[in-house]
């Protein structure tokens, strides 16, 4: 096939593909434009996950009639003028690609008025071409409406997730902007329902309260530190507030939301020894750094950032966080040291092997059950074992559609983050099949009316929030169901440190024997270790 230059409608869609991946990318580009325009009130409205309808309204500086016409052309921007400006970008956008990219994959309406114009200019674009041009009235600012996203781009449309997942992405994104710009009043309406509304009072703590809940916000510690040209500021959770996912850590470099493994690692390093493995802090970290020290032009979406000097940033962040944490009352530090000799003495099993009948003989450290089998001694981790028992039971009850449910005498109100709230909407069916009755109760609060019986007597608040965190981020329904069962099993299971009587121990061991995989807990850790009579003889020097 001969090589030829692609026609412009193809190249524009290819370029759009890099920036506009899903409805939330549209929202991101538009909010960035609004912020660059100096808006302090931004409202976002989405229907059907933003696929059929998206609108971003701001009160920024607006565009004149002439500017509107230029704005829709590729590489049109007011934010940089030449190559040298790329060295010190202070605006969020600069590539001049957003609007034309959006326009090439959807129907766009632009309505904007700047301070110098007497009326607002209105443009209607279809497939990147202007199809209507009018004068309308509106106060200063810009409204951009995007309809039928990806309608002319079936390849992309096919890869979009369900509307509720896409709404979740939008909610997460707007939440991040709200955290980055506490001085801007953000409003998010999803399918006609108010999902987020910040006060715009310039207090990071009030934004955190809106996004992650009031309880969390109250406990957050102030972070502030500086290292030469770096200035770090934000809020970080005390060790008592912890989450099961990393998604509660947000980083903003020069107020731009970024994903950066280096920064995440720095935070985890600062919390080392304070949190259990697999637990993560809540943190909102703003880093101010001279623009020439960073490169945000790594990818068109500008989600990634490179630092000229990684080490300085890393150490400064770790030190600042450690200083903050040192001021908070510390809980006992958990040691992760393992006894290496245990490995040689105690054998582990091949997985899936059937369990011999066991007789519980006693409890060790209120955490392990000592059990005797026909081939020696077994040490059973009571939490892991119970977790396995409950996990199997949850899966069975779900398969039979017979959850064991305990009603609440008085409904329990739980505060949720935006993501958790979206998870309830997205996974409503799964939650009720598990035995939950959760009702929305105003903004970011839900009422718990019934819970799976196995959670009875546990910290419901924590169990439900963590369950929502676990399932909220998972797209694959099968994996999501497994994660839900793991999370429930973990919260319903007896804890290490709980004293059991002989009846309880015997019952647990017996129930474990009947499970599908008695030797491992649902997370894959062993539930028991084994010491054979031969090993015992050897250790006591009884064999020649």
């Amino acid at each position: 096939m001969p090589i030829k230059i692609l026609p412009p409608e193809v190249t524009s869609k290819i370029a759009a593909g890099e920036v506009i991946e899903r409805p939330s990318s549209v929202v991101k580009e538009l909010i960035e434009n609004s912020l660059d325009a100096g808006a302090n009130e931004i409202s976002v409205e989405a229907h059907n996950g933003g696929i059929s309808y998206l609108r971003v309204t701001d009160n920024g500086c607006g565009l004149s009639a002439a500017e509107v016409e230029i704005a829709i052309r590729r590489h049109a921007t007011s934010k940089i003028t030449g190559l040298e400006d790329l060295e010190h970008i202070r605006t969020l956008g600069f590539r001049g690609e957003a609007l034309p990219s959006i326009a090439s994959v959807s129907e766009v309406e632009i309505l904007s008025r700047d301070s110098g114009s007497s009326a607002a200019s209105y443009l209607h674009l279809e497939g990147g071409k202007v199809s209507a041009r009018e004068k309308k009235s509106r106060p200063q600012g810009t409204t951009i409406t995007v309809r039928r996203l990806f309608q002319n781009f079936p390849a992309r449309l096919k890869f979009l997730k369900s509307a509720s997942t896409e709404s979740g992405h939008i909610a997460t994104l707007v939440g991040q902007f709200a955290l980055a710009f506490p001085e801007v009043k953000f409003e998010l309406v999803i399918d006609g329902k108010n999902s987020l509304r910040t006060t715009g009072d310039a207090e990071l703590r009030s934004s955190v309260a809106v996004v992650y809940g009031l309880e969390t916000a109250k406990k957050m510690l102030e972070v502030e530190g500086t290292d030469g040209m770096l200035y770090i500021q934000g809020l970080a959770s005390p060790p008592s507030v912890e989450r099961s996912t990393r998604s509660y850590m947000s980083f903003f470099v020069n107020r731009r939301y970024v994903r950066n493994a280096l920064l995440a690692r720095a935070v985890e390093t600062a919390y080392e020894g304070l949190l259990m493995t697999g637990r993560h802090p809540v943190a909102v970290i703003n880093i101010a750094i001279p623009p020439e020290e960073t490169d945000v032009n790594v990818h068109p979406t500008k989600l990634e950032v490179k630092f000229r000097n990684n080490n300085t940033v890393f150490t400064a962040l770790v030190r600042t966080l450690r200083d903050t944490l040192a001021k908070s009352p510390l809980p006992a530090i958990r040691s992760g040291v393992e006894d290496a000799s245990a490995q040689t003495l105690w054998g582990q099993f091949p997985h899936n092997a059937v369990l011999p009948p066991l007789r519980a003989v006693g409890q060790l450290s209120s955490s392990y059950i000592l059990a005797e089998g026909e081939d020696g001694l077994y040490l059973v981790d009571q939490h892991a074992a119970h977790e396995r028992v409950l996990f199997d039971k949850i899966l069975l009850q779900r398969a039979q559609k017979k959850p064991e449910v305990q009603g609440m005498l008085e409904p329990l109100a739980i505060e949720l983050s935006t993501q958790q709230e979206q998870a309830i909407t997205a996974c409503g069916g799964l939650l009720s099949e598990l035995g939950f009755t959760l009702e929305p109760f105003g903004e970011r609060t839900c009422l718990v009316r019934a819970v799976p019986a196995l959670l009875n007597g546990n910290n419901l608040n924590e169990a439900i929030r963590e369950l929502l965190d676990e399932i909220g981020g998972e797209q694959d329904t099968q994996k999501r169901d497994i994660k839900a069962a793991q999370s429930l099993a973990c919260h319903g299971a007896i804890r290490a440190g709980q004293t059991l009587d002989s009846g309880e121990m015997a019952s647990l061991v017996k129930q474990l024997e009947r499970t599908s995989q008695p030797r491992t807990c649902p997370h894959g850790r062993p539930t028991m270790i084994h010491l054979s009579p031969q090993q015992l003889k050897k250790e006591f020097g009884r064999t020649g």
């Binding site: 449910v405 009603g407 609440m408 005498l409 008085e410 035995g435 019986a453 007597g457 924590e462 017996k510």
Partner: protein, 375 residues
Amino acid sequence: MKVSCLQENLNKGLGIIGRAVASRTTLPITQNVLITTDQSQLKLAATNLEIAISCWIGAKIENEGSITIPARVLTEFVGSLPSDIISLNLKHHTLELKCGRYEARINGLDAADFPPIPQVGDDFSTKVKAEDLKLAISQVAFAAATEESRPVLTGVQTEFEGSKLTMAAADGFRLAVHRANLIEPVKEKVAMIIPAKAYHELNRLMGNEDQEIEITLNSQKSQVLFKLKGIEMVSQLIQGNFPNYSQLIPQTYGTKARIDVAEFLRAIKMAAIFARDGSGIARVIVTPGATVEAGKITISARADEIGDNIGEIDALVDGEAAKIAFNARYLADVLSVVKQAQVSLEVSTPSNPGVIRPVGTDNYDHVVMPMFVQW
């Protein structure tokens, strides 16, 4: 300090205050007992900062003084001594004990470093019979939450109004409310949340003795004092608002059954054997009597791998047939504390709470939320 007392008195006193000695603590002195001369008596006290217990024993005081001594050493040593007169002699910070031909010296810590036992004034004060208080505690305190995510629910709402004492506890799944009489009416209405743990201790301290218990609240409403014969217990109060529980008690019912408590409890305990491996579900079916047949209640449980059981007991049924499932443990808990021979069980739908009340008295309501099961 130089005093002497009987071994059995000191031993008994140490046993009384022993439960308030801190077991795990960051403040080592709270593992000690405070020994002080108080007029012609010897005062023993211990605190774990949540509750404080003091008791007074008869002693011959030669010299006044005070000291704190490690509780475990002192209690174990005194407990091993023969029944005789013990003389206690304080030299600097060492307490010398002599009893017959046995003696010991135990190093103590300065009494001034002991956390002050809260003084509770007489802003609010009332009296109640030990017997009434014991019944109220035994019927209510067990329903408090043990899990601490909502601290107010780990306590017992205690209200004084006129000549009535009302106690209520709930853990989200059940609610127990008991009403008792005061000996002296109170002038103003007062409500406080007392930790269920403190009530359990108080119950133990009251023993079986016939006595009057004086209840006093401090002016900041942060501590409550219970005065027994020769013993005082102070407890911190839980701060916060207890949920409005009266609205949780159903006012109507569709079915009411009168059942013999002992029979009901037996059937529940049998169901619990089969429900143990599951979530403890006991299914209750109430059948009204017909012209010839008496009304009855059947209680059943089943576990997929083990099997099932069913028990039937006679009941005087008013209203329609009904079925409802409960956690067997919740039913067993309430039936074990009812003193009357019969209870009434009131239910409306399988998803509305059931109410259990003793027959022949109107001082106790116990509300249990059912479990939702497939029938």
